[in-house]
Symmetry: D5
Subunit: 119 residues, 10 copies
């Protein structure tokens, strides 16, 4: 578990025998561009089918806030969020969509997906 | 039948030989957070294919209102609504989508589904 | 043919060898609640693939208007519209979607479908 | 000061020499209909020009929540919110707009205004 | 008082010393065209500053429904609604806006206003 | 009266003692460009306060259709519609707004107004 | 080739080895109702996968304009546009969607499709 | 007259005795940033009351296109467009609004106005 | 000049004899709540009429970014932005509108205005 | 590698073992019509699944800007963008959608796709 993962708390899935979808959306993600040091802003959409564990909402907010002063690229941060969350809550399925604000007239969306092979 | 289920009335499906979809949407669901006691607000979308019974609309409204002063988590309440309704009207198919208002900058959607194996 | 069906006129499909979709949408459907006598309002979406016959638009308007002072439930009226139209124009495929206005904070959609087995 | 007013906390206006506008909007107001006991839902828009005191946001939320299980009419509750807040923070100007959800096919807006005569 | 006016009930204005605005909007008005007998549909927006009396919401709904099978022109019905309501509740100010659905590719809005000269 | 004006029929204003607003909007106006012969398309918004006479809706539709194969410029046609209608129904106030579709990447709006000096 | 087809010009597809989609949308289609002579208005959406030939845009505009004073039904004109264009440019796939403006409170969409069997 | 002004053609106002508004909107303005050489994009809204002369639409398009490869600041270009057009067509009133696309997360609007003192 | 003001650069107003409006909008403002340390997010709309000096856009972006890790209240930060900018560019008129994201179900807008008395 | 391709820079894909989607959208594409010399404007949507290499955002912007003064047809430019980008970054999948502004009342969309056969 890396430092960021330690911020994420979980609780027991109240309905393990059923596949169901949980989606959390926040328009308040911000990190820094590693090249220029300028802030980047994104909406993060997290969608998953829980197995044993659900992600606790408040700790998830703190996890996302921990990137506030990190310098990290669009593609890397989206992959890391997926990897960090999969590592902690081991879901049946998870998807992270990061919609970044316009830079130089171009807006970007990165979409990363994980499927647990046992399902 | 639990206390809440007793609130739900049904009427005979006027067209049993045909699979068709009924959808009821209400933006007026409210319950309490079990941790903080603060009110939560959600839009509840119910979609089902009736078998023998349809859900009576007014009693469904009273059923949803019965959560008004209950402390219950997002994931739990969405699963319970599905279980309660499936138990009472035994549909061919049912889906409950609960779209919760923003908390701490994060909005959440829980989507739960039931399929009767005989169809 | 029931009394309402006699209102519906048809014309010959100008292109029988091709499957194509005709969709008519009206936000001006109104009937009465059989319990309370209060008016209900809906948007009716009719979608079909004609076989030998197409539905004449003006007569379809008169057909829908004939429900204006009838007391009839959401589920029943949507199924009846499908049955009446299928009986008259014998389409390859037909779907009726009825989107009812909010009552008691809840809006409802009923969606009914017919497929001719020979296609 | 009535019981509800005691919930409202204030802080000193950081810029008393300048007239400026503060607006707080919440779509999460709910009370009960005094006739039927049914829940009502509204968006409350509060707009004011502070004089000596500003309204503390969290206590304002608790104040609005205190109506959750009160039976009170649209016109009365909107006037009361204005009176309660004017009484506590004595603003130069205040306006309360309450947008109530559709009931019986009719949505309602009540708009109440206060102007301190010394300005 | 004409027959329609008798349908309108009032209640005492809870705050007579203050000018404030009440607005009721319904997208569910329907009457008949006096020429063709065809149904017309409109959204009716009522805005008023009450004096001694407020209009009771449910009775206002019944009042509007009483036009359902009346043959009456756009301009006439909008003026009549204003006159009927002014006659019953004697407001300080009242405005009625009727937005009629498209007929022959043309949609129409009629806007009528009343001001009590004593204010 | 020119040829086009003869198409416009009027009826007596049902409420002459009151100033009120009538607005007719049609997105279905089309004429030809006098230079290129290419069709132009516009939404025409007519707003007026009637005096003795109101404009009959169906005849107004025929009046607008009479421009279908005329070659006429944006500025000229908007002024002519105002002049023709003022000439026929002699209103207290009238405004014509013509919103023309994009040509060469530029969309245009022409707005013309008439006020009867006696009001 | 009929008279209308002669208006359509083509150019060689710049990329024949790849299936790709070209879509042209115009909200400026108008023809006449064959019954009443009244103008009809539609948005025409043309979508196709070219084979040897692409449709030249300006000539396509003139082709659509040629219906301006023709009396023709919704279903017939949509099928004819597809047949005319398929006949001239022999595409791998083509779809025409015609969205007609509201008539008598009802809006209509006709959707017609062609697939070249060799693909 | 500068070089750009020579591109603008005018025609005689068809209705000089009446004040009326002409508005032309184009989302297709582009110039270059004088510092970085990077392209800027804006929507230009031109609104004016003509006196003797109206601006010919096609020549106005060419005038705006003449900035395509010019390096010029937001504030300067908006003022210049107003000055150039006022100089050529001498209107009673003119306003230019330039809405520039987001740069560095900031979008900008410049609004410049001219009033002829004789009106 | 405080430390933040030193970040703001200006350039000479290219058109001093004319009153005109400059508006800069950024949805990417973030600071910290002084109580909880949690990040706040806002859209900042700056509108001003320049006198001698215009605000350079890039330096304005850096100025706003300097609040990123400051703990400061909604009301205070909005007033400070106005004071800082007025102090540096001494405009004829300036308005700052800060639209803060939802916190506890309540969104807030603060609007502050400055007028130079010599205009 | 052609001259335009030399403008495109790449960086190593930070997550090669996973298929994920990168989407870049710019509403700021402009080129010239080869027939008339008039500017064309489009929104370019690029969507791809990277293999070894990702496209560097700033260089992609410069690549798109290089078309600014080129005369090139809609169909050709869309195919060229796909070919150029595939040639440089050799993705697992790529799609280019070009949405062109209205010309002669017709807007156009070109959609081109590439799939690497090894995936």
């Amino acid at each position: 578990m890396n430092e960021k993962q330690k911020l994420i708390e979980t609780f027991e899935n109240p309905n393990k025998e059923r596949d169901y979808i949980i989606e959390h959306t926040t328009p308040e993600f911000t990190s820094l561009c590693p090249k220029t040091g300028q802030p980047d802003f994104a909406t993060i959409i997290l969608e998953y089918i829980p197995d044993e564990l659900c992600i606790e909402l408040k700790s998830y907010k703190f996890y996302l806030q921990s990137f506030r002063n990190d310098g990290i690229y669009f593609e890397a941060v989206t992959n890391q969020i997926l990897d960090d969350l999969v590592g902690v809550c081991k879901p049946r399925y998870m998807r992270v969509i990061a919609e970044f604000n316009t830079r130089g007239g171009i807006s970007s969306v990165i979409e990363v997906e994980y499927e647990n092979e046992n399902y």
